[in-house]
């Protein structure tokens, strides 16, 4: 740029030149120019006929989570689990003889960024698969991109259901899987008839509570004595706690999230609601959340998830040991973290079954894939791209861990569009 100035030194003395200089402000925009994209594998390769980033030695996979912003708290665990899984796969020889190369992008807790980065991973980087997204909002934003460019997304979070896409494998539970069996359990075990529902005000708690309400009313013949929603980030729950005290429900059914979670359990305890006497069933508290809530404040509550860190089986013990070795002794592993860990393995098995990295072939090969070494136990991919999985109810201990008290005897069929629950 300095050269330009001297070149025009004797040239036109007009405002034009100054304005050109002012254009320097726009220079950084030039740096937006395309970066060299990663070499696409030759389309002749038998395992890759669609121009994915597959070479003779490597295959590229994307990781797309929030490493920054408000959601980083939750998504960090998923990133760690996915990296662990990929490292383990590479150690064992990779996928179809190719090592997995990871491109990690940051969704920055911002939904358009997820869509943008998804597009970058698919269009620029030609990722064979993407492990990513956490909130429903981020998935909804990125989904059209995956469908348009025929990508493949492994989504780890338990969520409200009402979705099924050719281009997504849902490794977490959908709402009916997570909720129904545990409601049956609390009905049978605690003789629960009346339920009080409290949640953060957005789609997941509302949909989950709707499903729970239908089940309570139509199947268990119980009643819902209250249903309350609070804005995300709400910190004052004394009024609703009074309501709970007044209604004396058999079960408090809670799906409060984020910072509100911490406030809710602290105030519940302070209000003298003893969770060893008052049954509380939550679908939003994993080991990760207990860190912030404090084990003492939530001890005695029941959480229903498909996975708890304390599960006793050899798969899980190996997984927990490997996870702690890689990410430190103090890390805790919640349900979503484990579900994120499944993604790379399910993809690897589908690729190997299909004998190809092509997304269409991998998708076609996916239903019926069984993963027997999953930390949560045996899982299987359903035709609707969700996983068959067990559901478990566990009691929170003061140490911040859970003690599993119930496990569904059979794998539960995923049912993202439950009839009679809408």
């Amino acid at each position: 740029m300095a050269k330009d100035i001297s070149d025009t030194e004797n040239g036109l003395r007009s405002p034009l030149r100054r304005k050109l200089l002012m254009g320097m402000a726009g220079l950084p925009a030039l740096a937006l120019m395309p970066r060299p994209s990663f070499a696409a594998a030759p389309p002749t390769s038998a395992v890759n006929t669609t121009g994915l980033a597959v070479t003779d030695t490597e295959v590229t996979v994307g990781i797309l989570h929030s490493a920054t912003g408000t959601m980083a708290i939750s998504e960090t665990g998923s990133i760690q689990a996915e990296k662990l899984a990929i490292a383990q796969i590479n150690e064992a020889g990779g996928v179809l003889g190719r090592k997995i190369k990871v491109i990690q992008e940051d969704g920055a807790s911002d939904w358009p960024t997820f869509a943008e980065k998804a597009k970058k991973l698919l269009v620029n980087d030609h990722c064979a698969a993407v492990m990513g997204c956490w909130t429903s909002a981020s998935r909804k934003a990125a989904l059209p991109v995956f469908e348009q460019y025929n990508g493949l997304l492994y989504y780890p979070t338990f969520y409200e259901g009402l979705e099924q896409s050719k281009n997504v494998i849902y490794t977490g539970q959908e709402a009916t899987q997570q909720i129904l069996a545990s409601l049956d359990w609390v009905h049978k075990e605690k003789g629960a008839k009346t339920f009080f529902m409290i949640g953060s005000d957005y789609i997941w708690p509302r949909t989950s509570n709707k499903i729970a309400r239908k089940h309570v009313e139509n199947v268990l013949k119980g009643s819902v004595v209250g249903e309350e929603y609070f804005p995300l980030g709400h910190t004052q729950f004394n009024s609703v706690i009074n309501k709970i005290k007044l209604k004396k429900p058999d079960v408090i059914f809670a799906d409060v999230v984020g910072g509100s979670n911490v406030a809710f359990y602290k105030q519940l305890k302070a209000a003298g609601i003893d969770l060893s006497k008052q049954t509380l069933l939550t679908i939003s508290v994993t080991e990760d959340e207990i860190d912030g809530i404090g084990g003492d404040n939530i001890a005695g509550a029941y959480s229903c998830m498909k996975y708890f860190q304390s599960l006793k089986n050899p798969n899980n013990e190996a997984f927990v040991a490997a996870f702690k070795k890689m990410w430190g002794e103090k890390t805790v592993i919640g349900d979503v973290t484990q579900a994120a860990y499944l993604g790379p393995f399910l993809w690897k098995m589908a690729v190997e079954k299909a004998g190809s990295f092509d997304v269409d072939k991998v998708v076609a090969a996916s239903p019926g894939i069984e993963f027997k070494q999953a930390p949560e136990g045996y899982v299987k991919i359903h035709e609707n791209h969700h996983l068959w999985s067990k559901t478990r109810v566990a009691k929170a201990l003061p140490t911040g861990q859970f003690e599993v008290v119930y496990e569904s005897p059979e794998l539960i069929e995923p049912n993202p569009f439950p009839k009679g629950y809408q």
Partner: protein, 308 residues
């Protein structure tokens, strides 16, 4: 609406709900008091107020860790020490910020808003780098948890009582300081007429610095107290900021009494509405009512006639 409950139930609802409202009131006063001094008295829009509160909360967290490992015998009393330290830490940071940043901006109140928003981003990231992105759990002494049963159906939360007590003490302290002490007289003099105050020999810069430090220090105490009822994380401070500003503005910025009255009316409205409506709608209606009233009565509930 009340038909389904017995009379005894009703009276205990009434008492408990009143108490819940009182706790909310105390929380709001504690939140807003520091800001009322900074915004009300000094005209500085401190968007980093929430982050000063969270600094207090983190100090409490560190204290609880320290006492648990080194002085377990004194753990029951650590909370008071933590609050004092929170006051000092937030106050010191406040004075530093005033010196480095705010004093250049007294004539541009809107710009203090931008600068302190930038400060809040920096503080949030600093907390994230130091304490990690997750919320931290603050261990509380066991005497602070639980509740005292008054009758069969009425129970009083101990931490609620504690918050009420802290709020009362701090409010009285601030009122005495501002309206009865020499320093308070100087603050009021500087705020109502700066050149004149300077002319009669008040060190206005020093007064500014201490006033800002005082406001931030109170925010620190509030944050420390809120570890009992809320979450402590890098972005937790953001949860409070809108409510806090509305309380101060609604009260009529320059009046301490106004802040208290406004905290009272907002907390009672919200707590009552929350009981009868869903939580979300209660919040929306309360905020709407406040904004509506402010549109009709922009000077707030109470105003002090001062030269501007």
């Amino acid at each position: 609406m009340f038909g389904e409950y017995s009379l005894a139930d009703l009276s205990s609802i009434f008492v408990m709900q009143g108490f819940a409202g009182l706790i909310l009131f105390s929380v709001y006063v504690l939140m807003a008091l520091g800001l009322a001094i900074i915004f009300g008295q000094m005209g500085v829009i401190n968007m980093a107020h929430g982050e000063f509160m969270i600094l207090g909360a983190y100090v409490t967290y560190l204290c609880s860790g320290f006492f648990q490992t080194h002085l377990p015998s004194l753990f029951g009393a650590y909370f008071f020490i933590a609050m004092a330290l929170a006051f000092l830490a937030s106050g010191a940071l406040g004075m530093l910020v005033e010196w480095a940043l705010i004093r250049h901006l007294y004539k541009r109140p809107l710009d203090t808003l931008l600068a302190t928003w930038g400060l809040s981003l920096i503080l949030q990231q600093a907390y994230r780098s130091i304490f990690g992105p997750r919320e931290v759990g603050v261990e509380l002494p066991s005497w602070m948890m639980g509740s005292i049963p008054v009758t069969d159906s009425i129970e009083v939360q101990i931490n609620g009582l504690f918050v009420i007590a802290v709020t009362t003490v701090i409010t009285l302290g601030v009122a005495l300081l501002i309206y009865r002490s020499r320093f308070g007289a100087q603050i009021r003099a500087v705020m109502s007429n700066r050149p004149m105050a300077g002319a009669v020999g008040i060190d206005t810069e020093k007064v500014d610095r201490y006033t800002f430090g005082l406001g931030c220090g109170i925010a620190g105490i509030a944050g420390s107290a809120f570890t009992m009822i809320g979450s402590t994380g890098p972005t937790s401070g953001q949860l409070y900021i809108v409510d806090t500003f509305l309380i101060v503005v609604f009260g009529g910025a320059a009046s301490l009494l106004g802040t208290i009255a406004s905290a009272f009316s907002i907390s009672q409205t919200q707590s009552t509405l929350e009981f009868f409506l869903s939580g979300s709608m209660a919040k929306v209606l309360t905020l709407l009512a406040v904004v509506g009233i402010l549109m009709l009565r922009p000077q707030g509930l109470f105003t002090l006639k001062v030269r501007r």
